[in-house]
């Protein structure tokens, strides 16, 4: 009874390209509330980094005469601090500096970590100078990671003195080993794939194979690590500023605002430290959520 049905419509071949990737991403996002929330927070924080200092109702670095420690009201949504400054205006202005530090330091850490990770992973099993280089990189990473992160950051900034550039340099330096290890792990897998050998047979040099052919295939894990690293960097920047080793006052920055407000909390002015801390926590949560979501989205095992 079985017969071929000539009128059976030809199944269109699935087009795999940018369009489907985008559609995949949208449907993935639609199913995950946490990821949506994270994306919203990240988008908002990026928006504030650009416009925050200009949209607040009060100046961010000048005192309002005669208004110390006002509780939250319609005039001052988050109250004012001990130096007569409007906390809400300062809280939404803070992403400018916090995000700049986090984004720039993460970008540097990503570039450095990926490059070193490719070198150490690709040349790891070999011999001679590249092997030594690979070992040297890994041992240096071990040393950096052997120190408690915050103490080490504090030492680095203490060495160069506080200031935005120094915080960026310290964070970039500290985050390099994380990107390095993640990239190295991916490279160790990719370098065993047959196309790598095929490139060798085609007469490519080892360095070319490492950076043109292996690296792009090993980028997913470090890319997924960017978002949590940004969140972590914001936290660390605030931590450094809290102890006075980060961004100097009066630049609006969450950590230093918490530090300024902390003594007032003892005397009942809870709003001074609470609001910057709350916003800081929410923003870090947002980056963590985005990081988790991206990791899941990019993981081939979870592909439906």
């Amino acid at each position: 009874m079985s017969s071929d049905n000539p009128s059976l419509p030809a199944t269109p071949l699935p087009r795999v390209g940018q369009q489907t990737a985008w559609r995949d991403f949208l449907s993935f996002t639609r199913q995950r509330g946490g990821f949506q929330l994270g994306l919203a927070i990240v988008a908002l924080s990026l928006g504030l980094a650009v416009f925050g200092p200009h949209i607040g109702p009060y100046p961010t670095e000048t005192a309002l005469p005669g208004m110390p420690l006002q509780p939250p009201s319609w005039r001052h949504w988050m109250g004012t601090d001990v130096s007569n400054m409007d906390i809400f205006s300062r809280v939404i202005a803070a992403p400018r500096i916090d995000l700049t530090i986090a984004l720039v330091s993460t970008a540097i850490a990503f570039a450095g970590g990926v490059a070193l990770g490719v070198i150490s992973g690709f040349f790891g099993g070999g011999r001679g100078v590249p092997k030594l280089l690979s070992e040297g990189i890994m041992r240096a990473a071990d040393i950096i990671q052997a120190f408690p992160v915050f103490i080490f950051a504090l030492a680095l900034v203490g060495f160069r003195g506080p200031g935005t550039e120094n915080v960026i340099a310290a964070l970039a330096f500290l985050n390099i080993p994380y990107f390095l290890r993640i990239t190295r792990g991916a490279v160790l897998q990719v370098r065993e794939r047959p196309f790598v050998e095929a490139q060798r047979c085609a007469g490519n040099s080892e360095w070319r194979i490492a950076f043109v052919h292996v690296m792009p295939n090993a980028l997913t894990p470090p890319l997924a690590n960017i978002s949590p690293t940004i969140g972590f960097s914001i936290l660390l920047t605030s931590g450094l500023s809290f102890v006075g080793a980060g961004v100097p006052v009066p630049t609006p920055e969450w950590g230093s605002m918490i530090a300024i407000g902390a003594p007032n909390m003892m005397t009942g002015q809870w709003w001074t430290a609470l609001f910057p801390g709350l916003v800081l926590g929410i923003v870090i949560l947002g980056y963590a959520l985005v990081g988790d979501g991206l990791k899941e989205f990019l993981d081939p095992v979870n592909k439906r």
């Binding site: 795999v16 196309f195 095929a198 085609a202 043109v212």
Partner: protein
């Protein structure tokens, strides 16, 4: 014709915790310019290691201990990395099984071929593109202008194999090493691929070294066949003579096993559990149905047994006279 590739006493070993294990033992073999040589042998006989060692691509724990690989008069083992790289993908190229896995998934096939072209010659972008289209057309890929932008996952396995061939023949290839060309392709496609490869090799005067477990493929496309067992060439013969009557008991077993898998009558129905190669005397002795006492002591050399054919067996002459049954 003068040999383009001469392997002399090539020995490769594999480092294990219990010491080194020989993978290739003093292997000697010639490939003449433009000829098609088939290498057959069971898994583990060292075929792939042979191909890799010619290209100088053996990584630890493999180690080349001894011997020379002379290509066009130059000993490749003495070559520095820079000059060797010029040869790979240039005068010597390799095509591999599982073609899709041998293409970079993130780069379009057009770009990959352009990269291969530019690895060995300075070529302007436009010229490289034109040449790539020519190559794709030559390997029978329809609509090559559009396929330039295709990624490996958008092509079928057969198409990917064609791309691999296009890359292998992108330059004035003198020697094409073909490793298991039929693996992972269905019968009709592998037939087309082999026809194409053979045709291109003949028209370019490229020597083919075809490594395969498929005796039928070797019979069809090669003029000469070399049989490998335990890292040695045990027989080296013209194809017609080989299939008419092998001069080594291992070759005979291979032929019968191949006949059995095609369901021929009178073929060997079953292959005994494979014994390890012997450490003394003839390595094949534990599996040999015609072994005699002398095989336990003497290691047979690869000797001329008839015009143009060599075998590594004390009883080769008797085998050739077809005196030995079973």
């Amino acid at each position: 014709m003068a040999p383009i590739l001469e392997l002399r006493e090539l020995s490769v070993s594999y480092e294990t915790q219990g010491g080194a294990r020989a993978v290739l033992s003093k292997l000697s073999l010639d490939v003449s310019a433009g000829e098609a040589l088939g290498i057959v042998g069971e898994s583990g006989s060292g075929k792939t290691v042979l191909v890799r060692s010619i290209l100088g691509l053996l990584d630890p724990p493999f180690r080349t201990d001894h011997g020379t690989v002379v290509f066009e008069g130059r000993d490749l083992r003495q070559l520095d990395e820079q000059s060797f790289r010029q040869l790979r993908g240039g005068s010597i190229a390799l095509t591999t099984p599982e073609p899709r896995k041998h293409l970079n998934p993130l780069i379009s096939i057009g770009r990959q071929i352009v990269n291969v072209l530019r690895a060995h010659q300075t070529l302007a972008e436009q010229a490289a593109r034109t040449r790539t289209i020519e190559l794709l057309r030559a390997v029978g890929i329809p609509d090559p202008e559009r396929r330039l932008a295709a990624y490996p996952h958008e092509l079928s396995g057969g198409m990917c194999q064609r791309v691999i061939i296009a890359m292998a023949l992108a330059h004035q290839t003198k020697l094409l090493l073909v490793d298991e060309p039929t693996a992972g392709l269905d019968v009709t496609i592998s037939r087309q691929i082999l026809d194409l490869m053979h045709e291109l090799a003949v028209s370019h005067g490229t020597a083919l070294m075809l490594v395969s477990r498929d005796l039928g493929v070797v019979a069809h496309y090669c003029r000469r066949v070399a049989v490998m067992y335990d890292g040695r060439i045990v027989e080296d013969a013209p194809v017609e003579a080989f299939f008419a009557g092998p001069a080594h008991p291992y070759s005979r077993q291979l032929l019968r096993a191949a006949a059995a898998s095609r369901g021929k009558r009178g073929a060997e129905k079953r292959v005994d559990a494979l014994a390890e190669p012997a450490r003394t005397g003839c390595p094949f002795r534990p599996r040999c149905p015609v072994a005699v006492a002398a095989c336990a002591t003497a290691v047979p050399a690869l000797q001329q047994v008839a015009a143009g054919r060599r075998a590594r067996c004390l009883r080769a002459e008797a085998l050739l006279r077809q005196e030995l049954a079973a």
